[in-house]
Amino acid sequence: MTPELSSELVRLLGPGEAEFGCDACFAELDRYVELDLAGEDADRIVPGMRAHLRGCPACREEHDSLRALLASEPANPEGRTP
């Protein structure tokens, strides 16, 4: 399957599994990103998030931005990542 067609199918059909709505996604976003950056299994701990990020481009952009912002910061003195 071509990448273009794959992308179209995801946009049209969504993730096809249990997922958050946008409000729940926003509520959990900070925890999810920190868990992920700490090397935890964020998808298992926060089920429904990954599927929503696949299905909702706007939430995915905001997730990517928060992750990039945190990753760009030097670890604070108390440490954030293991």
Partner: protein, 220 residues
């Protein structure tokens, strides 16, 4: 003491930095004023970060306007953060929690600005699936049949509202915030409409004999 993120999603102890933020923002007088100023600076930094990420896709917007958008996004985010302080449970660091409000405000403002003055393609009439290209050599007859079935499903299985929303968002690339504003609804309500539409579409395809799992193996 640094808090530890547990699998249950709460910190054993609020980290000292987050604790200090809450104490300062709940204080009175000069201490609170200084904390609010630090919070705003933090939010401006996040908003500028978001704008810088999107800058390449916004060549038509002047730098001075983007600077104003960053300030406005930080102001709106500060209002939200201060109004929701009691909602912060320490599931992340306070600064991470606050950042997301600024990133959201900046992203929404930029999406709306990018579509400002543009007519939204809301009419489902006349659309076709995959309008921009001819089938590639790697596209099998079965994939072509799937696309035809999806088009039929959109036309026959969805309500007019579901069709309008799905076509606008998934086929015409209208951002969900922009569409929500135009239709006078919320992003959450609109995503629910999309979710229901996709579910109906999947049911339609399954009844038509398509094995979606097999197709989706190629989308991971």
């Amino acid at each position: 003491m640094m808090g530890t993120v547990t699998e249950a999603g709460t910190r054993v102890l609020l980290d000292s930095e987050s604790h200090a933020w809450l104490d300062d923002l709940r204080a009175e007088g000069k201490r609170r004023d200084e904390a609010v100023a630090r919070l705003r600076a933090l939010l401006v930094r996040a908003a500028r970060f978001e704008i810088a990420r999107r800058r390449p896709s916004l060549p038509h917007i002047r730098g001075s306007e983007l600077a104003e958008i960053a300030e406005e996004a930080a102001d709106d985010a500060a209002v939200s953060v201060l109004a929701k302080l009691d909602d912060f449970r320490g599931a992340s660091r306070f600064t991470t929690w606050a950042y997301k409000f600024a990133l959201l405000e900046a992203a929404v403002k930029l999406r709306r600005r990018a579509w400002q003055g543009r007519e939204l393609p809301l009419e489902p009439e006349g659309w076709t699936l995959v309008p921009s290209r001819a089938p590639g050599p790697a596209e099998t007859a079965e994939q072509g049949a799937l696309l035809a079935a999806i088009q039929e499903g959109i036309e026959t299985a969805l309500t007019p509202r579901q069709r309008t929303v799905l076509v606008a968002l998934a086929l015409n690339g209208v951002p969900i915030d922009v569409l929500a504003e135009r239709l006078e609804t919320t992003r959450g309500a609109l995503y629910k409409t999309v979710h229901d539409a996709r579910k109906k579409l999947r049911t339609h395809l399954t009844k038509a004999g398509f094995d979606l799992d097999a197709f989706e193996e190629g989308t991971e």
